[in-house]
């Protein structure tokens, strides 16, 4: 589903990704862990196509398409969802308006029928309930005045509504209390655990992986994948730390 090959990327002339290769087939949840500054968020932004992140070498193939050739909104329409570590506030634009425009833009690009107001509202309420987010928050402006935890839940409600085929979730667990973490983890399972979908889950902590059980775990360090293993690799990291685990690699 997603095939990253020898990816090099830089910001302001500084190389961050340095020959990263990774394949995530459909049906897989692949966790990415790594020390601070390893390039985890950069990987997420490069996949999302954020301006300022320059790919200097390598390729990313997404369902047979050259992902790097697509504009950010085209990547979304192709089924890619980027869960932000710091969801952005957009004063003056309500969640409902934003998400309906977003969903219908994607559907239009895919040649699917557009959802009318009633159909959309029903879908939005259903997904808000799944993430235990007060549906009234959907009427509020995008992320404005939301707590850290609410922003992350709202992010997953967005994912539920947009129903992507591939999700890149950048530290979706940061800022969540224990209960919220479980709700969000179960939300990820409910929305993304399917044979035709896949997830790249960037996280620092084992706790989320207790809920969203990954099929594979990779360590990203200095801009490349240095080790890949099963779920036990995350447990070893939690117990021994990066230095010890990577030294034994």
């Amino acid at each position: 589903m997603l095939k990253i090959d020898n990816l090099h990327a830089e910001i302001d002339g500084k190389t961050i990704l340095n020959g990263l290769s990774l394949t995530v087939p459909a049906g897989e949840v692949h966790a990415i862990m790594g020390p601070n500054g390893a390039g985890k968020s950069t990987l997420a932004y490069v996949l999302g196509g954020r301006p300022g992140y320059k790919v200097t070498q390598g390729s990313v193939e997404f369902n047979g398409v050259d992902l790097l050739d697509l504009e950010p909104h085209e990547r979304a329409a192709a089924g890619l969802f980027l869960g932000f570590q710091y969801p952005v506030e957009i004063p003056g634009v309500s969640n409902l308006q934003f998400l309906r425009e977003a969903l219908n833009s994607q559907r239009k690009a895919r040649g699917e029928e557009l959802l009318n107001g009633g159909e959309f509202l029903k879908l939005a309420k259903e997904k808000a309930a799944l993430l235990k987010l007060d549906p009234d928050m959907l009427k509020r402006h995008v992320n404005v005045g939301f707590s850290g935890g609410e922003k992350k839940r709202a992010e997953m409600v967005q994912m539920g509504i947009l129903d992507p085929r591939f999700a890149v979730l950048d530290e979706t667990d940061s800022g969540l209390d224990i209960d919220a973490l479980r709700v969000v983890g179960e939300g990820i399972n409910a929305i993304m655990r399917a044979p035709n979908k896949a997830v790249l889950l960037i996280t620092h902590y084992q706790r989320l992986l207790d809920v969203v059980k990954p099929d594979k775990v990779s360590i990203l360090s200095q801009g490349r994948i240095v080790q890949t293993g099963g779920p036990d690799l995350a447990l070893r990291l939690e117990n021994e730390g990066y230095d010890a685990v990577m030294a034994h690699a």
Partner: protein
């Protein structure tokens, strides 16, 4: 019709950022007088849009007296003409309220501006002015707002709020709040800021599937929305917003 010598110059504060050369042949002394009786509510909208007989220079000068406990609400969108100006001189009697919601949008080398002089002549009057300007090319948007609080006008509550959004290098906005306060128990707030479209928000919206054009339209709509918040007629509000957004869309 005034002689050339009578035309204002940019040395005068109220015409400082104006396209004064475009005033030639315009009746400067043609003030529209609006008297609002005590307790009445008066609402007026002004739309300067493309087509519909819009002249190259659109000068609108209104002199308003708002009677005791009366309300005057003005909402205006200046989206066409080489030079468009709405100038309002408003005098507030006891407990009166003045509301202005203004939008300027424009590119090329157009100038669109609001110039207000709000006189709080008696106690307990309130005024609230919100102007939003979106410009590109070499377009200019201005808001010059004088607030005079006279000696007897205790318990005045006046507010002015201006924000400019520049879509391109070369466009400009000017905000000049001027407060003259001679009473001692008053509240006068004013704020002004200028910026450009939030790139982070644009990327966030793109990451959810919105095209750059649609993302921009939503952001501009959100930005302009503040100016029309006080307009409680939804149909009118949407019509005014559409004039402004269509203008921005036409350019971009």
């Amino acid at each position: 019709m005034p002689e050339a010598a009578e035309l204002p110059t940019r040395r005068e504060e109220a015409w400082r950022y104006s396209a004064v050369d475009r005033l030639q042949g315009t009746a400067l002394d043609d003030w529209r007088v609006i008297d609002i009786a005590a307790g009445e509510t008066f609402r007026e909208t002004l739309v300067i849009a493309d087509g519909g007989g819009t002249k190259p220079t659109e000068l609108h000068r209104w002199r308003v007296t708002v009677g005791e406990s009366a309300t005057c609400e003005l909402f205006a969108v200046l989206a066409s003409a080489e030079y468009a100006r709405l100038e309002v001189e408003v005098t507030l009697r006891k407990g009166a309220h003045f509301e202005l919601g203004g939008i300027t949008v424009g590119g090329r080398d157009t100038v669109r501006e609001f110039v207000t002089r709000t006189v709080h002549a008696e106690p307990e009057a309130t005024s609230n002015q919100t102007v939003r300007s979106v410009h590109w090319g070499h377009g200019t948007g201005n808001f010059l707002g004088n607030i005079d609080v006279l000696r007897d006008a205790q318990m005045t509550d006046a507010a002015q709020d201006f924000k400019g959004l520049l879509l391109e290098k070369g466009a400009s906005v000017n905000a000049v709040p001027q407060l003259e306060i001679f009473a001692d128990d008053v509240k006068c707030a004013h704020g002004a800021s200028v910026g450009q479209l939030d790139e982070t928000a644009r990327f966030y919206m793109a990451a959810r599937g919105l095209s750059p054009d649609l993302a921009r339209r939503l952001l501009v709509q959100a930005f302009l929305g503040d100016a029309l918040v006080a307009l409680d007629d939804e149909e009118k509000r949407e019509a005014l917003m559409k004039v402004a957004l269509d203008k921005v869309d036409k350019y971009l």
